[in-house]
Subunit: 224 residues, 2 copies
DNA sequence: CGCATGGTTCGATCCTCATCGAAGCATTCC
DNA sequence: GGAATGCTTCGATGAGGATCGAACCATGCG
């Protein structure tokens, strides 16, 4: 009977259906409140609260208090990666499900992830930015090329780095399961999409809906 | 309350301490019998058997029956990857451990894996045997070269194949995460190391401790 | 202030599941 | 064949933990 890192403890945290649903909901990348998570998990508020404190104690979540709201989010990319891995095995083993991620079609196409764009459109955009060498892959990081810097400046998209936050960062897409662009540049691009009125945020949802004309413009600028 | 792939089911399989210990033991890459796993997990044979059937049903293990022995192994690299990910989080969260695999330094250097040598020494040895062309890589298998056969015979190391068991087999090292040598040759080499008193097995542990002189001899014969 | 809203803590209940001894199969060895 | 070994199944026991209602804090609003 050997004693390693306490893998059973971590796994059992994910092993409860209510907690698994909560973590799954948080895979979208946005932090959620206790009541929202209770709804997602299908349990009462006290029960959810109990689960959340366990997940906190296990180090799987972070907490940001804002007024009387308390926003829970995944603690790290490592935790998200672990859940991805578990989901992968679950999908391989149980041949039940068809599509991962949000069931809502609009959410799969485009949605907000924290402060940047996610979904099929966002994944396609990152692919194109690599193709056009505006961004460069470096190990596991993403770097802005000199031509990319010029390009985004010309579009009026600011790219100054803030403290501790990189300009470009890969963020694993919940529904597509491939990376999209995060970081200050990712956020600035979403800002521009909203400012230009190419798309608007759906009310009470993270979905981002493009107008017909806006979609054309977006594709011309980012997907051509 | 969304319904995804049954992630809670998979995670809860890993979430039991006994099962976690078993899976952890199987991360070494060698398939183990039910009794060995019961020992690793610190539970009785019936309990272990019950856990193993659950892991089988969950698709996490494969089973190879050989006579009255039943060898359990991890079902896939994907499953191993998932466990790696969970271990990673557990290590990041619990600030206790630093390195993956056995915590004991002696265990990392050299230990017994089933019936052959594992650990840094064993991985280095296999590297050298390849370099010296005493062993040859063939696809995913390892073959003894003619010069190798002569070499080991001269050392008094028997190399006859037993039924169903290959002379050479690669075995993924638990701590180093690279292959070391298993099979009848791997076992015979460990036998020689013990017989020559170059090293002894630590009591109640899988660690193998070399004596100063024995280490020199071993390095002269296998690492030069 | 007093009320409403968002969250947590407490207590009691209930149920799943891990555990092991004993008995039952299966395979191999003599 | 019989005995020994390896493993699984059965049955009974027990403990941990998920759950929710009710009560309890905290923040914000008027």
């Amino acid at each position: 009977m050997r004693e390693g890192p306490d893998i059973a403890r971590i796994a059992s945290l994910v092993g409860d259906p209510a907690r698994a649903n909560m973590l799954n909901a948080l895979m979208g990348g946005t932090a959620l409140t206790a009541s929202e998570l209770a709804l997602e998990a299908g349990v009462s508020l006290p029960t959810a609260s109990s689960h959340l404190s366990k997940l906190m104690e296990g180090g799987l979540l972070t907490l940001a208090s804002q007024g009387r709201h308390r926003y829970y989010g995944l603690a790290s990319a490592q935790v998200a990666g672990m859940i991805e891995a578990i989901i992968g095995v679950a999908e391989a083993v149980g041949p039940k499900r068809v599509r991962p991620g949000p069931r809502d079609a609009a959410m799969r196409v485009a949605r907000v992830c924290y402060d940047h764009l996610a979904g099929e459109q966002a994944v396609a955009m990152l692919d194109r930015l690599f193709d056009r060498k505006l961004l460069l892959r470096e190990d596991n990081e993403i770097r802005l090329s000199s031509s990319g810097a010029a390009h985004f400046s010309a579009l009026g998209i600011g790219i100054q780095a803030k403290a501790r936050r990189p300009v470009c960062r890969a963020c694993l897409d919940w529904s597509v399961r491939r990376s999209h662009l995060a970081g200050t540049l990712g956020a600035a691009i979403l800002d521009k999409i909203i400012a230009e009125k190419w798309a608007r945020r759906e009310k009470d949802s993270r979905a981002v809906v493009f107008s017909p004309g806006g979609k054309r413009e977006f594709e011309k600028v980012f997907l051509s």
